[in-house]
Symmetry: C2
Subunit: 335 residues, 2 copies
């Protein structure tokens, strides 16, 4: 419970001015090596730790970035976050984690708080299409990276996966396996991730001369219970309409769908084939073996931070870039 010493205390102890202490600690070139060593030693002994808040105030840089995600409970995001953080630690940054629970109001609130806290940059996985509040960071000029969702704003930098392509691959694979009645189980309808995956689904159908059947497309939220509920509905329509395969917009939905299928006494994949999206770790469990479209989650996180660094560095790196990552279909046992 010792009181934390300030630079003032160190200066007094060492019998020099604040400036000299500051110089010693940040090893400025213009300082006597001897006194520097002496001061550093004293500072250490006193347990001096520079106050980052004060530093932030004068340097106008906090070595802090905000990360806003919609659902920390979806293993996809922790994996991305880990990538971001590993890159951040290396660069000496600390992360404010903000989980919105898919709540746009909370997202907006966080945005404001983070700006007030003077973060140097922002990484956002937007949770709603209601992007009006996303103009806040953009207009304020703070360096921002959007991940997993594209934002239509002149100079927003986005890192996303090619959702359309990924979905297309998944559905075409299903078609290749002979399926003709393929359902789409989506998350929040108005989210671009969902829209694009639906788009890929539609494109795959039409490219293969299959008719789009509205009754086979249902959306909810990107959660397991939603997948369960929707799949159950899908299975309990009149017999003839039942799909033989399902493409779910993420793995959580797929996991829910799997459960509904089994509880309806049907077999996977012989009665119903299921394909997900994300390739969360649990998709590969031997008991699950979910066929899914993989995203490079960890690397996406790392890339996001590195790109943000470039932006923050202020170098000639143009914002407004859209970085598109490649999905890869991982075929396992549910299809």
């Amino acid at each position: 419970m010792t009181i934390i010493p300030t630079i003032k205390d160190v200066a007094r102890e060492a019998g020099v001015s604040y400036a000299t202490v500051s110089r010693a600690l940040n090893d400025h070139p213009e300082i006597n090596e001897e006194t520097k060593k002496r001061i550093v030693k004293i500072a250490m002994k006193m347990g001096y730790r520079p106050n980052a808040i004060a530093q932030g105030l004068v340097k106008k840089e906090t070595k802090t970035v905000g990360l806003i995600i919609p659902d920390i409970t979806n293993p996809f995001f922790p994996e991305v976050a880990r990538g971001i953080e590993d890159a951040a630690v290396e660069a000496g940054y600390t992360i404010f984690l903000c989980n919105t629970n898919w709540n746009a109001k909370r997202e907006e609130r966080y945005l404001n708080v983070l700006l007030q806290k003077q973060v140097d940059g922002l990484i956002i996985a937007p949770s709603s299409e209601e992007i009006s509040h996303l103009r806040i960071p953009l207009d304020s000029g703070i360096k921002t990276i959007f991940i997993s969702r594209v934002i239509n704003h002149a100079n927003s930098t986005c890192i996303i996966i090619d959702n359309i392509l990924g979905a297309k691959q998944a559905v075409e694979y299903l078609i290749g396996r002979g399926h003709r009645r393929i359902a789409f189980i989506g998350g929040q309808e108005d989210i671009s991730t969902n829209r694009e995956r639906l788009q890929g689904y539609t494109q795959a159908l039409s490219a293969n001369g299959l008719e789009f059947d509205e009754s086979l497309v249902k959306t909810g939220s990107f959660k397991r219970d939603s997948g369960y509920f929707i799949m159950d509905q899908l299975l309990n329509t009149k017999e003839g309409n039942r799909p033989t395969a399902v493409f779910a917009a993420n793995d959580l939905l797929a996991l829910g769908a799997l459960q509904a299928v089994r509880e309806n006494g049907l077999d996977i994949p012989s009665d119903i084939a299921v394909v997900g999206f994300d390739d969360i770790e649990f998709a590969s469990l031997p008991e699950i073996q979910l066929t899914t479209v993989a995203q490079p989650k960890y690397d996406m996180g790392k890339l996001a931070f590195i790109t943000l660094m470039e932006l923050m560095g202020g170098g000639g790196y143009s914002s407004g870039r859209k970085i598109l990552l490649d999905p890869v279909l991982v075929v396992r046992k549910t299809s």
Copy 2:
């Protein structure tokens, strides 16, 4: 890309002193209602946002707390984190998320960074028994809550689950089902979580007159591949020694064990019964149906933050409390 106005700008615009603006914004009692309204309006129009860094400097309070966890990839922690965060948001706090990847060095580094950033409090799920560096926060007097692991330090407040009891329940249940050769698959050996769960295991055995067989106890790290590897070893010892049941120190280990058992062509639970610990969401998947000892993860997070608030509030709340939560055995299909 507008420049962010300071209180100075607002003051100039409103034709009053900084002090008055500050008073208006923090609605002090001693201010004219009219001018207050006028100033607030002007501030809003200008898009003024108080600089939290500057506020932190003078108020000596940052409304920020640090959260240090070992593995964000283990669904247990995101769930706890969500609880913490929900409570934090409500109280107007923001969380620094620090993931250590079970790395003590990184934990120590984070500790120092967080102190420098002047967090108001700390919530730590320690990742190693090498607690020497944990003296840093304790000695510095910063309010700290330890979760999921107990720290032997005079005035550390810990929120943990009764690991011994939980493990005991699990193993006694197994014994009740007729198992006599029960293996223990642990995480990092020196971590109290692991030690206590092992202790519960041992107690259950001796309380039931079963002999402790060293060859049935193996530890690795709290990860799935570790569980897989250990289980595989266990199964490939000479036939007679093979266990008929396994108690894994967490669900990830159990999931790995499940996989090894199946890959060895054995049936669950008839050949080998498996019980885990944590009850992560994926344990309840119909395909998994893992029997496990449940922890109130989300509530534990909320409680952690609320307790921290009490501590930070400086009220008469004594630190040094150990809060013990109750585990509950959830019997599903792997036992």
